[in-house]
């Protein structure tokens, strides 16, 4: 078993500050109103650290990482 990590967002908390898209443009872009659109699928390993930083930087704690176990 291997853990796969996804970005999740609590939409009721998100205020569209947009820091996540600044830090992680590879996986997050902003819609026309400034709210993040997250690329679906697991986070590639090379982006793991920066994804964690994006989560830590969210001013309203709306962004989170979710680990799900997947069988190989």
């Amino acid at each position: 078993m291997k853990a796969s990590i996804h970005l999740t967002i609590d939409r009721t908390k998100c205020d569209g500050h947009g820091l996540c898209a600044e830090l992680l443009p590879e996986l997050i872009r902003l819609d026309d109103w400034g709210y993040p659109i997250i690329t679906p699928g697991p986070i590639p390993e090379r982006l793991g650290r920066i994804a964690q930083r994006a989560v830590d930087t969210c001013p309203v704690l709306a962004l989170a990482l979710r680990r799900t176990a997947v069988s190989r």
Binding site: D10, R11, T12, C14, D15, G16, D31, D32, W33, G34, Y35, I37
Partner: protein
Amino acid sequence: MSGLRLLAGPDLRSGAESLADHTRRLGAPTLGGRPLTETLVRSGVGGRGGASFPVGIKWRAVAAAASKGPAVVIVNGAEGEPQSHKDRLLMATRPHLILDGAFLAARTLRAAQVVIYVGEEHKTAWAAMARALKERPEAERRITRMAGAPNRYVAGESSAAVHLVDAGVATPTTTPPYPRERGVAAAPTLVQNVETLAHIALIARYGDAWYRSVGRRGAAGTLLLTIAGGVKSPGVLEVEAGTTIEEAVAAAGGVSEPAAAVLLGGYFGVWVPAAQAWELPLDGETLRSRGMTLGCGVIGVQPAGRCGVCDTARIMRYLAEESSAQCGPCFFGLRALSDACSRIAERGTNRDDIARLKKWAVDVSGRGSCKHPDGAVMFLRSALSTFSDQFASHPAHWRQQPA
């Protein structure tokens, strides 16, 4: 109005059936507990609030979560869908079928609390449910209370019902956790539509084979429909599942003038061109497999004289205003979509707004904590395809259209 099962019995115009009459007519339910849950699974009965979620599976989930502590049952009679009347009619005429279902659920799931959640503006239904509750045994009354659902589109969503009971605010909350896992005061909570509870009350008497013994074209059971718009006798009907839209419309007296399209499933539903709609069987599973929805059973018949663009713009404006304004993509996105629809309706087609509608419909989808934006976008996409000619060359005529 016709009644096959839920609406069988005394004349609906005589109002709510009393507990004495109800018991004399139907006797007491014979099934309960685990056997009832498994019977519901086998019956295949799905929720009638809009999502068609399989009832037996939901009960199993609540029962599993309730092994650690008592559950809560919410009887959902919010009926916030503007065109739907079937829940109100059922509450006003057959309250004890609904309450039978609610208390069967309460006993089976060992619930310590039952909340009857009724739309504040459904006054006749509220009064009938309150009166019916007074007729029930003390053991049932003691654990039950009534709560008013505000007249908002999202108030009937299951997490919104839980939120109202918990905090007095009928806005949806982020799921998961789903109410069946963690609902009222963190207890596992069954939120079940009133029509669904009434079906359960009959299945607990007659079994799953009986439930499946009616139904057409492979579908099982009966459903309540609200037939609205351009038909001769609009109103609520009970039909066998699998009945076609054409047959249902014929049962409502037939069309009052030639129809252009059908809005199937209410404002969270889909527009279907009339020519394609007539043959469709009314069954949650069949419609879902074709990318459509039975929703809460509304069939809105649009007469050929109306404008599809203007009707769509009006409904989009309503859905945008009904956003609970908690999630940015829903609040801003639906407003932007509604504005673009209105511009096309008022000032005529322009290529930029058509392109925006298509782009934003994709952007907004799946980005709310509840399904409000998804429902609105599904509705809009069906409009863009059903009325593609009208959207492509719409004149500036909104103001001339009757509401």
